[in-house]
């Protein structure tokens, strides 16, 4: 079976039948694809003045998600594919998956400004280990701030749908009353489920008040997601209480601050090797000096033989002066110099 499958796919590929099939499927219906998950945005819901939920109808390639997981959303902005991770805010049992997006950063702002029902997006498979254990622990604490509520909302909806809310305290932080995402849904759930205690706080998270709000916080399996400041203070509080093992966290891409070029580290993802960058020479030259043998051709930026996936970090294109700092961008090694710690897909 496996061999037959492999033969068939080689046959299709060598006769270019695979890409023809992909093209004609897409011509028949834009969401049809054998290779990728495409989803149609079917509804856009305003949650707060700067947060919107996008309800998606994916094609058959979507394999569902576990509550708390995220997915890669890919859109095309002015002809360029751009992707970002978003937590799913819907429960796994819901008819359609949804993401909830705060207007911040390039891609999220673009989603707000440009995406209306009918828009097509691409999704990666659901991923992430920020999920509830199975069966769900009896005593739970959800601690969130701002748009960090999205993955824990998915968990809450999942527990509610399965009628599995035992003893759950949900502490959410928002800037103001109007900034509470899902406020109506939360209130409705709190009214229906006696085991759910909902605490909404305005302003900064204050770890000194935690003991008063949730005296047994250290004994609860806790799920934490929020802005970096909140996360850091909460992690410190749990560490002091000796309860770090019960704290589960989900971080949104808080990239490392760019370091100075010299002294920055170049890390190679495949071999795990790293070496310090120097102030002179392209990344290609630096790799070669470090004993690596990456593919290259012209060494002047025209042939693209040395193109390589940059997983993380900032590099500068010496021809254009353009900075590349997004994760997972392709760069040309022969005309790039590192500006921070860089991880390459080599």
């Amino acid at each position: 079976m496996n061999l037959a499958h492999r033969l068939a796919s080689t046959f299709a590929e060598r006769l270019f039948l695979d890409r023809k099939a992909a093209f004609w499927l897409g011509e028949l219906r834009a969401t049809w694809s054998l290779r990728e998950v495409r989803a149609r945005v079917v509804e856009v819901v305003d949650e707060t003045r700067d947060t919107r939920t996008f309800v998606l109808r994916p094609n058959g390639g979507w394999r569902g998600h576990r509550a708390g997981q995220h997915t890669t959303v890919e859109v095309e902005i002015d002809g360029v594919r751009v992707r970002r991770l978003y937590s799913l805010s819907s429960a796994p049992g819901d008819r359609l998956p949804a993401i909830t997006v705060k207007r911040a950063g390039r891609m999220s702002t673009w989603l707000h400004d440009r995406v209306r029902p009918g828009h097509l997006v691409r999704l990666g498979p659901a991923a992430g280990d920020f999920v509830l254990p199975d069966p769900a622990p009896g005593r739970l604490l959800f601690l969130s701030g701002g748009s960090g509520i999205t993955p824990v909302m998915s968990m809450l909806r999942d527990l509610a749908a399965r009628d599995a809310i035992g003893d759950l305290v949900f502490v959410h932080h928002a800037r103001s009353h109007d900034d509470v995402i899902f406020s109506r849904a939360l209130a409705a759930l709190a009214a229906r489920h006696r085991g759910l205690r909902l605490i909404v706080r305005f302003g900064r998270f204050d770890e000194s008040q935690l003991g008063a709000l949730v005296p047994d916080f250290a004994e609860r399996e806790t799920f934490l997601c929020g802005p970096p400041g909140l996360m850091a203070r909460a992690e410190w509080a749990w560490e002091r209480a000796g309860a770090s093992s019960r704290l589960h966290v989900e971080r949104f891409g808080a990239g490392a601050a760019p370091a100075a070029a010299a002294g920055a580290m170049v890390t190679l993802a495949r071999s795990g090797r790293s070496f310090p960058a120097t102030a002179s020479g392209s990344l290609l030259e630096q790799l070669e000096r470090a004993g690596e043998r990456p593919a290259y051709g012209c060494r002047i930026g025209i042939c693209h033989t040395c193109r390589c996936r940059k997983r993380a970090g900032t590099v500068k294109n010496v021809l254009t002066g353009a900075l590349s700092s997004a994760t997972d961008e392709d760069i040309q090694l022969c005309i790039s110099v590192p500006c921070s710690d860089v991880e390459l897909g080599l």
């Binding site: 060598r14 006769l15 270019f16 890409r19 023809k20 992909a22 093209f23 004609w24 011509e27 095309e76 002015d78 002809g79 360029v80 594919r81 751009v82 051709g297 012209c298 002047i300 025209i302 042939c303 693209h304 033989t305 193109r307 021809l319 254009t320 961008e329 392709d330």
Partner: protein
């Protein structure tokens, strides 16, 4: 042979290069939806033309549908090879990050492998353009197209061998990567030759199977008609691409370089060599598309990794910069350039 271009001092060459760099930056800053829309339109046109051509050949009857089928399939192949494949393989659409437009994974519908092409064409030909002994695309290493190349008795039959190359051009460029000449002179070991030949033979086998076994078999009783139609469509693509590509570097007025001249070449001088080593073909928009925008060979050689559909709008500025710096900008009609290439192939067959 005299060349119309002025010789520039290093400073003048740098200034020339800076102006072209600035033009390049302007276009890079403007890349976006328009470019992606264009290439997707081309892919769509090629797919529809191919499907139409194959259906007409497979299920049509009579000579009219046969001729139409061959033209549609041949046009689809020309679009796929020249406007889509060649340009995608140059990395012109890598900025889109669309896996279907990715230069490193794209495979085109021609016997020459994408990998072989990326090396011999993108790297060697585009880096060492028109340097004798380094650019193996000069006369494809067996034709003498200029007095700078040393004469050899085998050149006597080159009018015939050039005509044969035109008919089977895809096989010519596929075999070009094998460096058979170097294997004959002992510069390449058998193991190296085999390493180059294996992927080529593998791809060529599948290509033959596709056009001469698989599609004819699908048409059942119409198989001979499909086979003949596919063969003619391939020949149509071969003749067209041969004509366009030979007009790019071999007409009168195109310069060749000796290796010594290009040692420690600055970026400005590299640009100068690209301008003086290439020639354009005049034509309208449809013609430009069918040549894969190699009608703008000069712009292509200056900016091989910018989307080719941008060349026509860049051309007036390139021409203006060249004129101001005293550089000849070689452009002529298809018939003039082709006639010039044909005359040279005949003329330089003799010592």
């Amino acid at each position: 042979m005299t060349h119309a271009s002025k010789t520039l001092t290093p400073e003048q060459a740098d200034a020339f290069g800076r102006e072209l760099d600035a033009l390049r930056q302007d276009v890079i800053a403007d890349l976006g939806q328009r470019d992606v829309d264009h290439i997707r339109r081309m892919i769509r046109a090629s797919r529809y033309a191919e499907a139409g051509g194959r259906l007409l050949l497979g299920f049509g009857w009579g000579p009219a549908s046969f001729a139409l089928g061959v033209s549609a399939l041949g046009t689809a192949k020309i679009l796929e090879n020249m406007e889509i494949g060649h340009n995608v393989l140059h990395g012109q659409y890598d900025f889109t990050r669309d896996p279907d437009l990715d230069s490193r994974s794209y495979e085109w519908d021609i016997v020459c492998t994408g990998d072989g092409w990326r090396h011999s064409h993108n790297y060697e030909h585009h880096t060492f353009t028109n340097i004798l002994g380094k650019d193996r695309d000069i006369g494809y290493a067996f034709l003498r197209v200029g007095p700078e190349q040393r004469w050899h008795p085998t050149h006597l039959i080159q009018p015939v061998s050039a005509a044969l190359l035109a008919l089977g051009f895809e096989w010519g460029i596929g075999a070009h990567d094998l460096r058979l000449d170097e294997a004959l002179t002992g510069k390449q070991s058998r193991a190296e030759l085999w390493a180059r030949a294996r992927p080529f033979l593998c791809k060529a086998g599948w290509q033959l199977a596709k056009d001469y076994v698989f599609y004819p078999a699908l048409a059942l009783g119409n198989a001979p008609r499909v086979l003949a139609g596919n063969l003619l469509a391939n020949v149509m693509r071969n003749l067209w691409s041969f004509a366009i590509i030979f007009c790019g570097h071999f007409p009168d007025g195109v310069r060749m370089y000796r290796e010594e001249e290009t040692r420690d070449e600055s970026r400005g001088r590299w640009y100068l060599r690209q301008v003086n080593g290439s020639a354009n073909i005049d034509g309208g928009k449809l013609f430009q598309i069918l040549t894969g925008h190699l009608s703008h060979q000069i712009e292509h050689h200056l900016f091989p990794d910018l989307p080719a559909a941008r060349y026509p709008e860049m051309a007036p500025r390139v021409r203006e910069i060249c004129t101001r710096h005293g550089q000849a900008y070689n452009s002529g009609s298809l018939w003039r350039q082709l006639g010039s290439v044909a005359r040279r192939i005949v003329r330089y067959a003799a010592p």
